[in-house]
Every structure is written in C-alpha cells, then in structure tokens.
Amino acid sequence: MSKNESSRGAVRERKEKVLTSLQNLGERIYRQIIAGEFPWIKMPSRSINNILYDQKLRQYILGNRSVRRSSRNIRHIRPLTQLIWTAMFVNDLTRQSKTSTLRDVFYSAQAYEMSFTDQQESDNLITDLETVIGYSREDFNVFPEERSAIFGDLTIEYTIPGYEGRRLNLTSHPDGMMIGPALTGAEFIDCKADKVIAIEKGGLFTRFIEERVHIKHKALLVHTAGQAPRATRSFLRRLNQELGLPVYIFTDGDPWGMHIAMVIISGSANAAHLRDLNTPDAKWFGVWASDIVEYKLPSDKLTELDIKRLHELRKDPRYEGKIWSREIETFMRIKKKAEQEAFSRYGLTYIVDEYLPAKLEMADSY
C-alpha cells in the first residue's frame, strides 16, 4: 500500500498550512498598523452574482469581484475586528488541537467584549474567515454538530491530543464510527476496501453492515445522514484522493436525494469560496427515476414542492450531465418518487444481492 504510505502526514501538513495562513493574516494587519495605516483586508465577494460554475473544476467558484474591509470605514471596523478576533480564537484552538462548535465561538466572543448580536453574525464571520484564508472551518477546528458515520476495513491513526499514535480499525464498532473532529483529523494507515459507498439513510447503512456489504463488495460504508456535512464531504474526498477509492452514492429516488449526491460530487454554491470539499469522480447510482420503472418499486406521487425543485435543478449547471438530465426528465414524466427502503418489497436481502451489484457495474460504465 505505497499509496497509503504517501498519504501519511497529509493531515499534519494541512494543519501547518492553515496555521501559516492564519499567522500571515495577523502579520499583515500588524504591519499595516505599524505603518500608520488603518488595517484592512481584501477578499473575494460571496454575493450571488460573483458565484460562477467552473466547468473544469466541476464545482462552484467565486469570480473576480472582491470586497475590501477597512477599519477606516465606520461600518466595517466592527466586522473586521470580529474577523481578526475569530482568526486569533481559531488559531489558539488549532494550536492546542482543541475543537469548538459554531455555538462555542458565539459565546467565547463575549469574554473579549466582542459579542456578536446573534448566531447568524458569528456564523457569517466564520465564513468570512474561510474566504480570507481559503480553508474550511473544519480545517481550523470549528465543527458543526454531526451525525454522520463510517464503517469498513480502514485503519486510522489519531492525531488529536491524548490519542496520538493510537490506531483503530473502522470495523471495530458495528454501529459505525462517527465522523467527528477526531476522525477528520486522523491519518489513513491501512485500507483493505476498494470502494466507498455513501448512503443517505441510517436504516440502510445498518442493513448494509448487517448484510456484510463491506466484505462482499470490499466497501467502506459512509452514512451521510441526509445532506452530507462538510466534514463528511471532505472525508469522502480524502478517501477518493489519498486512497484512490472510487466513491458511489446511494440516495432516495427523489429530487432531494439526487441533490445530496450532487453536493458530494460538485459542492454547493454556499461553499464556492472553498476547494477540496467535493469529489468530482464520485458516482450516483440510485435510486434513479428509471429504477422506479425498471424494478417496479413501490412509489409515492411527487408533491408540488418536488416538482418545483426539479424545475430548479433543470436550470442548474451542475445537472447538465447526460445521466442527470435524463433522470430529471424521467422524474418529470413518471411524477413518482421512491425511498431507498422500497426494495424491501422484494425481501430484505434483495437490495444487497441483486440491485447493488447490478448498479455498481452500471455506474462504472458511465
């Protein structure tokens, strides 16, 4: 596993880059003050009309427009101070290898008489900081609350304090291991799997473990718990990039499930200021609208909201691909949707024994 070996240290290396980036921000501001200048920063604008879809990167990116925040401007000085405080705060966090939630950040600020008026304001500041230094908040140890999990034959080594050097095989616990800060910061040591399957729903994730899909298909199973959190998206990307594993995505057969897959593949417009969160080569293999017809799945009627969502997706540049536009049209035609669990109609094991192998094969061919 030479590939795995080369990936070791990737986590530490990234941390170093994040810290340097934060320190540079401090240094820049510091020098501006020394030079008798009102401190200011410049960052790409995140307004809607500066969010563009990049065909080559296959994700949303920010355009050339930028905004300047100067402490000379009375309206900017407070957010600028908050931004620098946030940078200082997460710098300490990251150095001490501690983690924090968005809510923590909100309360910690009050100790410095820097109180944010509401959670929204502090969340925005975190996003600003992401934009300024070009790393996502998980990289500087601010995590949202998550319920996402992973199960499979992958051995990791912790880097967080108190656990440094300890190893764990991710089959150790049959409920799966939570993809939290500790796992996000872990190095990959050894992997026996040859693919990753991301699953939208917890029920099916458990079924796959019970049916030993991780052995039968040599797969790492990831539970996205609905829309995949960013930490999970970047974890999937690492599995894909560092270990070279193909990633397959299995969601409900409706516009929302489709979009969960799309966000893993192409990222979201909200994260246009960030890179390395998406897995462009990941494949969505179901449940497709055409599966509903082909497998005669029990289905529900699409609601008005579903139809409206389909119309939105139709206009979305990320959905220009052949499979995607075909499935959108099929949904529109049959006006039906089906859940992942719908396969239970043919017995509990059908999905693993019949559907999964067939679809994995098909996914490789497109």
């Binding site: 240094e27 501001i29 407070r78």
Partner: protein, 285 residues
C-alpha cells in the same frame, strides 16, 4: 423694571371708517394736512402731503366738510398707502430680548434658547410688537407636541390655546421639519404680543384673533428663532455623530492591534494612538 410707556396718537395704517369719523367729529384742525399731522403718529409735513395726494383729497380741505365718498377714499388709502413710517413703539412695553431669555432660562433651564423681537407693526392703527423665544432640551420634557407659552402684555394666557393665532402659527404654518425639529424634539415656544390693544377675539380675553398682520409677525419671528435652533441642532447632531464615531474607533482599533499581535505571534502590541488621533482631529473641526 423697563421704563414706563408714554402716551401716543394712533398709527394711520388700518384705521377703520368708524374710528376715522369719530376723530373727524372731535378734531379742531381746519385742514386735512393739519388733521393728519395732529392725530396720527409719525406723520409730518411731507408724509401728510404725499398721502393726501395718494388719497386724492385736498390738503386744505376742512375735515368737517369731507363727503362720504372722500371718507371712504381716505379709509382705503390708509389701508393701502405704504409710505407711512413704522409705528412708534414708545407707547409699548415689550419685555426685551434679555429679560425674555432670562425668564425662559429660569423657568425651564433649557440647553438652548433663542429669542427675537420684531420691529413694531400695526393693525387697525394700533402698534404692536411680537417677541418670541424658542427653547430646547434641559428641563423641557418630550411631549406629543410643541410646548406653547402665550403672553399678552406680559400676562400669561392660559385657556383655549387651540383657538389662539399662535397655536395656528406654531402647529400649522411652521414647517418645523425644515428646521430639523421632529415630533420627538423637546422644544418650547414662547410668544409675547404687546400692543395698545391686544386683538382678543372674545371678551374673555383668553385667546388672540386671526389678524393677518399679527399672524405675519409671529410667523416671521418664529422663523428667525427656528433658524438659530436649526443651526444649534445640526451642530449638536454633528458633534454627537462624531463622538459616536470616535467611540467606535477607540473601542475597536486597540482590539485589532492586540488580536493581530497575538495572531502574528508578536510580543509588542502596535500603537494605534496615531490612527485615533487622525480621527479625533476630524471631530474637532
């Protein structure tokens, strides 16, 4: 105490027909010129001559022999002729700007006072003087409207405020917004009318009638003090805004300095005094 007023003859402007007839009845002048000079204030040789010419009444005419037609012509001319001198106010006893100002300060202890005294004017031959004051802040509490204090010949008028000419001027004719006064601005207005005969509307002597001459004087006096108030208010707002600005900068700049030093791993916190100084300088301007 102000000096006591002296006795005087009526001002010619606005004398009505009844009064004129009564004066003619009582006079011992033999010519119209003498009549004008003797019975009206501030009318001398020259003005009497010009006025009679304007009224088309002979200067040698005996007042007792005026025809009805000529009397009517005289009354109209008295109203329309603009060559009369302003009325003689020596018969009046206004408060004077200083006393008015002192009084307002004593009663309300306001943040700002402006007072103004109009030049004497006349209605129906009675000279009158309007004095006004406007006060802002201090002991003046925020109320729904503008606090109005009315005085007539130094006597406060207490009742039926809404029927008074002053009320109309203050609440309807004045465009306060133009003077940076909003409904929330705590201001008080003082209006003193002193005259030989206050134009009360009723025998109760509680409020002053809608006389165009009086209205005009009050409005102009009020505009004068309101201009001064507007100047004060805009200066005050400007200072407040600048002070708030400076507060914001003094709160955040030192924080930026200390946070960035910590972030850059520097021991010494950079000095922001110079930056703050450049803003403070702006405040003084």
């Amino acid at each position: 105490m102000p000096k006591p007023p002296s006795e005087t003859t009526p001002h010619p402007h606005g004398i009505d027909i009844e009064t004129l007839k009564r004066m003619i009845e009582a006079t011992d002048s033999k010519t119209m010129k003498e009549f004008m000079k003797k019975h009206f204030q501030r009318v001398g040789e020259k003005i009497a001559r010009r006025f009679l010419e304007f009224a088309d009444v002979g200067i040698k005419k005996n007042p007792k022999r005026l025809t009805q037609d000529e009397i009517v012509r005289l009354v109209n001319a008295l109203k329309n002729y603009d060559g009369f001198l302003p009325p003689d106010a020596s018969c009046l006893s206004p408060l004077g700007k200083d006393l008015l100002k002192t009084g307002i300060k004593k009663e309300l202890n306001p943040e700002f006072v402006a007072v103004h005294q109009r030049k004497p004017a006349a209605y129906s031959g009675f000279p009158f003087i309007v004095e006004v004051g406007v006060a802002y802040g201090g002991g003046i509490l925020k109320t729904d409207g503008i606090l109005l204090y009315r005085f007539a010949n130094r006597i406060p008028l207490l009742f039926d405020e809404a029927s008074d000419i002053s009320y109309k001027v203050v609440n309807e004719l004045m465009n306060w917004r133009h003077y940076k006064v909003t409904p929330e601005t705590p201001i008080a207005v003082f209006i003193h009318i002193c005259s030989l005969k206050i134009p009360y509307k009723t025998v109760g002597k509680e409020f002053i009638a809608d006389r165009p001459e009086v209205e005009h004087e009050i409005l102009n006096a009020l505009r004068e003090v309101a201009r001064q108030l507007a100047l004060f208010l805009s200066r005050k707002h400007h200072m407040e805004r600048e002070r708030r600005r400076l507060d914001v900068f003094s709160k955040y700049l030192p924080k930026i300095a200390s946070f960035s030093a910590k972030l850059a791993n520097r021991e010494k916190i950079p000095d922001v005094k110079k930056l703050l100084g450049s803003i403070a300088k702006y405040v003084e301007e």
